[in-house]
């Protein structure tokens, strides 16, 4: 395999023509990848893992150019950290590819094949979506993660990473393409958009003839823009305003454990609890225990009026707090009088992401599971479990808060669709 070449950025002058070229190449490659056997796709994934390790030095060198440019342009320390590739992160990328090898290949599975009264057999075959466009921000490891999942699910991919990571992403794309070619798959099965011109994103969103679905991964601004402008269907993740509701029949210790874990296990993730609802009957008992625990973590509490009767020292919650995704050690708390009020609150202010009830009552649990309209609905479990790995998908391309197609964590299956297969023996319709 050739060393990764670190050429200067190609001059892309005609963005529409450049993007059309990427799209056409991706569409052509998608037919090969769709028909590729699992063995070949796995060989390619293992080859990519090997090249990642073999080209570690070149990768770190490319990444250093991004870091230097980022530092010069004033990126903050958190952004620079996300951008950085080091030995451990490079090893993790290679290991990610190897793990995708171990996941079952969803492509080609035929389900429900059954004879119909007419004598034909009808079933459904799982097939790739075709061409997937991924638009993401600064973490370069997304380049490998996304490419690996799309490849295993039989799709061609066009990747558009953040401009801060352009050199790293170009080096990663060359590594991926080296692995593809070594395994007899088309180089253009995975392509990156090798320009930082923002017009390229606009073009990508306007090519439904070449691109079947767009997956944006990043901040709300990016996702809002993509949703607004895209003529290609989008699998997206909007807000994560997740709730835990401590029911009147909650076990106190379980409630405490889950409410603390759901808020404090990580603050910046979309499945972190942002609002805690407590049944009025349990407020006097539970709220002081909860406050003591949150105080140990330095979580700022903002309560409704009734909450502040029990906990007079905390801040008052404003109406806007109920729909706020803090992504920070801040928690809104509201006292409710019934299961119905709790569910109304969740369905009104929530983001249909992940919501959990803490209860020992069978009927309350059964009702909550059915009536709460969110991508994950839980009983006596921390919202932090809403995750492709925890759910057994093996990996995830993201968590969808859409209702159509894929809802919740999206793994390999979410990157495929089903077509009908009909088998006959000269059958005609009468």
């Amino acid at each position: 395999m050739n060393a990764v070449s670190l050429q200067p950025e190609a001059m892309v002058t005609d963005i529409p023509a450049y993007m059309q070229g990427l799209g056409r190449a991706a569409r052509a490659a998608s037919r090969f990848v769709a028909e590729a056997e699992s063995g070949r796709k796995n060989t390619a994934l293992l080859a990519i893992a090997d090249v990642i390790i073999g080209q570690r030095g070149a990768l770190i060198e490319a990444n250093r150019r991004d870091i230097e440019a980022g530092r010069a342009s004033g990126l903050d320390d958190a952004m620079l950290d996300r951008l950085t590739l080091n030995d451990a992160r490079i090893e993790a990328m290679a290991e990610g590819c190897r793990q995708v090898v171990g996941l079952p290949d969803p492509v080609g599975e035929i389900t429900g094949l059954a004879y119909r009264p007419s004598g034909i057999q009808v079933g459904r075959m799982r097939v790739p979506l075709g061409v997937i466009g991924i638009i993401y921000e600064s973490r370069p490891n997304v380049t490998i993660d996304a490419a690996a999942l799309c490849l295993k699910s039989g799709n061609a991919t066009i990747l558009r990473g953040g401009s801060e990571a352009l050199h790293s992403n170009r080096a990663l794309a060359e590594i991926i393409q080296a692995g593809l070619v070594a395994s007899g798959l088309p180089r253009t099965a995975v392509q990156i958009v090798a320009t930082t011109d923002r017009a390229a994103v606009g073009e990508l969103l306007q090519m439904p003839e070449h691109v079947d679905v767009i997956v944006p991964r990043g901040g709300k601004g990016l996702i809002a823009r993509v949703s607004r402008e895209s003529r290609v269907p989008v699998i997206k993740h909007l807000d994560g305003v997740c709730h835990v509701y401590i029911d009147t029949h909650a076990d106190a210790d379980k409630a405490l454990a889950v409410a603390v874990n759901a808020k404090t296990q990580r603050y910046g993730t979309c499945n972190t609890m942002e609002t805690l609802l407590v049944h009025a009957d349990r407020a006097a008992e539970m709220l002081p225990r909860l406050k003591a625990a949150y105080d140990r973590y330095g979580v700022e509490l903002r309560g409704c009026e009734r909450t502040r009767v029990v906990l007079p020292d905390i801040q008052a919650a404003a109406e806007s707090d109920w729909s706020e995704e803090y992504l920070a050690p801040v928690l809104a708390i509201r006292i409710v009088d019934s299961l119905e009020t709790a569910m109304d609150h969740i369905n009104t202010y929530g983001s249909q992401h992940t919501d959990s009830i803490i209860t020992e009552n069978w009927s309350a649990a059964r009702r909550f599971l059915r009536a709460v309209d969110s991508s994950s609905v839980m009983v006596n479990a921390s919202t932090r479990f809403a995750d492709g790995f925890e759910y057994g998908l093996g990996a995830e391309i993201g968590i969808s808060t859409d209702k159509l197609h894929a809802r919740g964590p999206v793994g390999l299956e979410g990157l495929t669709t089903q077509k009908y297969v009909v088998l006959g023996d000269g059958h005609v319709r009468s």
Copy 2:
């Protein structure tokens, strides 16, 4: 039950406010319908069937007003026929409701519930989409069919029929609402847009907060407009440019039977064959037999150059013929040299709707099934089988040529989605 009242059209002056009102009422009703037991939904469907029959006279009277207005405004005979309700069609609408009672209720089914290493159980529950907007053209029976399927799948519905059918549709909406109320379901679970102002459609497409999916049913102009303008996800059906490919290993009699049935069983349907591909090895033998059969049906043939060597009397096909959906007794014919060329033709010119290979060769069949990227892929069967009833869905709201969410005939399942359910016992993430 009250008689159907035939009030004059309410004056709707503020269209945005009127549509927001419909949307809010639908969203509120959707929560009740989503939780309704199958028994209650079935009771409502049977009540609607009874009211349809009971109010037959009023319905025919309302329909007569539409027919008279249509005749006065110069609708052609075919349009007037589609618009007409008579005893047989009214009986068929009632029977349609009763048949939906017999279909299994998809809502609430939990699949794949399994313990994960962490000790939580994770599965998926099938749930309604929420609020479905149906935009359709002149056939009033769609009002009942669509409302019945949406109700059974636990959704609230906003129906926007053609302006020619407004009186019929208003009468049908009152019938449906009488059945809903008699069964303890909210009247606003099924609403019609009771104005002919086209701005109402524009509003419906801009209310993602109140409407979860739009299903347009009608001509290409309607579907193109809806796809272009909608901010709500759309389940749509575009062209049906369907193919039959007669392989070198085809059985001649089966090929003849399928090719004739696929073209002539009905001309105006989306699953009718529009282009016939014939392997070069079989052209001299098959084409004259096919022509003799098509001549009996008066089907006009348009052939490629090589086809016209065998059938010199037929018209030449232009490049545009390969992507034409005739919906008429016209057929394009092309000779191809291989399975690969046939599949390339289908993937290039087809509309990813329904395509069939005629072959006795195992490997050709297996290859075709995997590689052709259409919503239905068939072996030795007529394309006319692509239909919700033939596939065993019981009924269909339409046939989707989209890839995401629902592909091919869309029945009750296509009107639902899945959410994750997570069951624990105080489990937290470590």
